[in-house]
């Protein structure tokens, strides 16, 4: 589900005229008492005073000089909230805690700006105004913070967008209907339909709460019914009915708990032996923790910075020992080095992951197929963050261990690996044509490598053999960033592949949404 904070502007417009006016009001309190009466008369409600008077301008200038020289002490006396009929006061006040604690004017202005953007991010108001007024006349050096909100008239909104969902590891188109703020807690309810590029479809009902019982992180929950069709690649279809709860969601950390009834079926009845063994029902009760540290300057075209993502998943958290038990760990490292000319940058990336079952007799049990790693597809490694998944030049699920399908079918099933690793290097540069440069269309040259292993073969596993069987490809292409996604038109040449891999040298088109 799209988090409302994703639509947030990095820098919401700072209200300069009001800032001047605020400054003038405060100034009135602190400086000569001659002007106090006048300020009181003009009232704390005036927002439309035009700074025409030269006296006011002189006062403002002197205050700015003071602010530049040293912190101007001030104390917040009261926070007044108005305009909220449905929304509970404490929801709004909770976003302005930092404002209360400001001790100087500079801090106050900054805190007010942050509070403004936080309130807009709740996505339940049509407009948010924060004004700093003079405090009561008997208390000099104080100010009142007045928050005026206008709640959305039509709480029902529809939205269509392209996103990348971490679980699906691919881009998807989502159409959703949102109903905002039914109970006044800043709650957003949505019903959505999602179609993924990996033949998946999902219908879901979600609920988002900005604050849950005093915790400062938002709480999301989603009831979903999803199907994923892997018949062509692995001869099974996956159907899930479940509930996922976003327990913690902050800048760096995310914790999600999912409980789902999963069913693997094979309507084609052509599956290979190991897929056949996995068909059936299972209960998935898993906790997923993601640590994300992304200091790159852009998701779609990173030219500077680095990123690190670690995803850990543990399944089988149910009192019933018959639920699906597995452990999965994925790591992703990215680094971008800028060069001076042509806006060029070299992007490096390494990702690896391992998944295995736990519980009684875990050494003899195969891992569950949907939890395994699959490499290949039509998304770009530069954008797909969160574990090994994409390789230029290789088809969807076209790499790795495979088994022959049922007799009569010449295709093979790709059954996935328990451990996977990919690496890539991508040099991007602007094209010399100005028309293309303006639109952000640029070129790139790349190389990538990837490999997978099965844990059941661990006795035969040796590092040299693993390195020897790495699949590699190189290529060059043009990147067209659009508002929804990043499209690449590449020519790939496969340097090394293994028997049965689905790869070809040629022209490919990849789509990636920013993660």
């Amino acid at each position: 589900m799209a988090n409302p904070t994703e639509n947030l502007d990095a820098n919401p417009p700072i209200r300069k005229p009001e800032a001047e006016e605020e400054v003038e009001e405060l100034n009135g309190d602190e400086e000569e008492e001659d002007y106090e009466g006048e300020d009181d008369d003009t009232g704390s409600k005036s927002q439309t005073r035009e700074g025409g008077s030269s006296v006011d301008r002189i006062k403002a200038e002197s205050l700015f000089r003071r602010m530049r020289a040293a912190p101007v002490p001030v104390r917040v006396h009261d926070v007044i909230v108005s305009g909220n009929e449905k929304t509970k006061d404490h929801i709004i006040e909770a976003e302005v805690d930092a404002v209360r604690e400001a001790t100087t004017l500079q801090e106050l202005l900054e805190a007010a700006r942050v509070a403004n953007s936080n309130l807009r991010a709740l996505d339940i108001f049509d407009s948010v105004n924060i004004t700093l007024d003079s405090g009561p006349p008997e208390l000099p050096g104080t100010t009142n913070v007045v928050i005026e909100v206008v709640e959305s008239k039509s709480p029902l909104t529809g939205q269509i967008g392209a996103y990348t969902r971490a679980e699906a590891r691919s881009s998807s188109v989502e159409a959703s209907l949102k109903y905002k703020n039914i109970f006044g807690y800043g709650d957003i309810w949505d019903g959505s339909i999602v179609y993924g590029c990996d033949n998946s479809a999902e219908v879901g009902l979600g609920m988002y709460l900005p604050r849950f019982r005093g915790l400062s992180t938002p709480f999301t929950s989603r009831l979903f019914l999803s199907t994923q069709d892997w018949l062509k690649f692995s001869s099974y279809k996956e159907r899930s009915l479940g509930l996922s709860l976003g327990l913690l969601s902050s800048k760096y950390h995310e914790l999600v708990y999912t409980i789902a009834w999963r069913n693997l079926i094979d309507p084609s009845q052509a599956a290979s032996a190991s897929i056949r063994r996995q068909l059936g029902h299972s209960l998935l009760s898993a906790l997923k923790y993601t640590f994300k540290f992304d200091q790159r300057n852009s998701n779609l075209r990173p030219t500077n910075g680095y990123a690190f993502i670690s995803t850990s998943q543990i399944g089988g958290l149910a009192p019933d020992s018959r639920s699906l038990r597995f452990l999965k760990q994925e790591i992703d490292l990215r680094y971008a080095v800028p060069f001076g000319f042509y806006n060029a940058a070299l992007n490096f990336g390494v990702s690896g992951g391992v998944a295995f079952p736990w519980g009684s007799r875990y050494q003899n049990r195969p891992s569950s197929v949907p939890e395994r790693f699959f490499l290949g597809g039509n998304s770009s490694p530069v954008c797909s963050l969160g574990g090994p998944s994409a390789l230029w030049g290789f088809k969807t699920r076209g790499v790795g261990p495979s088994e022959p399908k049922r007799k009569g079918d010449s295709e093979r099933d790709f059954v996935g690996g328990d451990a996977a690793m990919t690496a890539f290097a991508d040099l991007s540069f602007d094209l010399p044509v100005r028309w293309l440069k303006e639109r952000g269309i640029h070129g790139h040259v790349f190389a990538c490598a990837g490999n997978m292993a099965k844990l059941s073969d661990i006795q035969n596993f040796t590092a040299p053999k693993f390195l020897e069987t790495f699949r590699t490809s190189v290529g060059a292409g043009i990147v067209l960033p659009t508002s929804l996604f990043r499209m690449e038109l590449n020519y790939c040449h496969i340097l090394k592949k293994q028997e049965h891999d689905q790869a070809r040298s040629g022209v490919f088109v990849t789509f990636s949404a920013s993660s």
Partner: protein, 315 residues
Amino acid sequence: MEGDQETEVYTLVARKPSFDLPTACPNCLPAYIYLKLAQLPFELAFNSTFPDSDELPYFESGTYVAYNNEDGGVIEKLKKDGIVNLDSQLQSLPEYLSLKALIVSWLEEALTYEIWVGTEGISTTKIYYSDLPWVISKVLFYKQTYLAKNRLGITKENAEQREKQIYKRASEAYEALSTRLGEQKFLFEDRPSSLDAFLLSHILFIIQALPVTSVLRCKLLEHSNLVRYAEKLKSEFLEASSSSPSPPLHSFPSSFPRKSSKPKSKPKVEKTEEEKKFKKRARFFLAAQFLAVVIYVSVMGGGSSEELEYEDEDD
């Protein structure tokens, strides 16, 4: 095709064993018994997460797979594909067809009814849901009960009438089969056929997996020659590989620990030794007692005979 299959291993994938049956599912057991009657060596693998699938049991050999929902069932498909055919000369006989119709329709209906409706699914937990979490197994149980009732054409209005009809037909079928079988080893002369597999599976399942209170089970037990037939075939074909004779079928509780034949002879030998020891000790004891009495009487007896008489009179 048969050539390269001989080098491959044959595997039958069925539901898990329970109730002392190699596979507790009534749809999987006929295939298992058929392969055993044909004396085809195969391995047994289990799928315990798909109770509502009609693909199980399936037979695989390399990349060849015979699913149960194709071509009329696993057994039919194995016959058709030339893997194992026990009915090669019997299929033209008119009796074969009529017996087959009896077993495959009336008896199978009765069994389905008894499992899901008659005994209210008591046995289904062990057969189908032992490896699934409680929530999933409950939902699937309701789903499968509903589907079974649909298949049998049972509605609220005709439930009683349909039950009577099913049981009546089952009784008639048992009667007919019992008469046809007599004391023969197999239904058709001396050779096993697929109908023996179906009938044997039916009888074994009813006796071992259904509770003692089951109406169908009582009806079946009235025909002792059917029970004997099942016992004989079971001990000859199903337990030939494992050295474990089980106790008589009609006194069989739902789960019974198996003892192998070798250890059984040992206790007998031990028992006789113990008996000897016991008897020896008993003799010693009696001898000692006798001696004590004799000594007592001889040492004390002369002096106190009057007192003894006096005591006796008092008594």
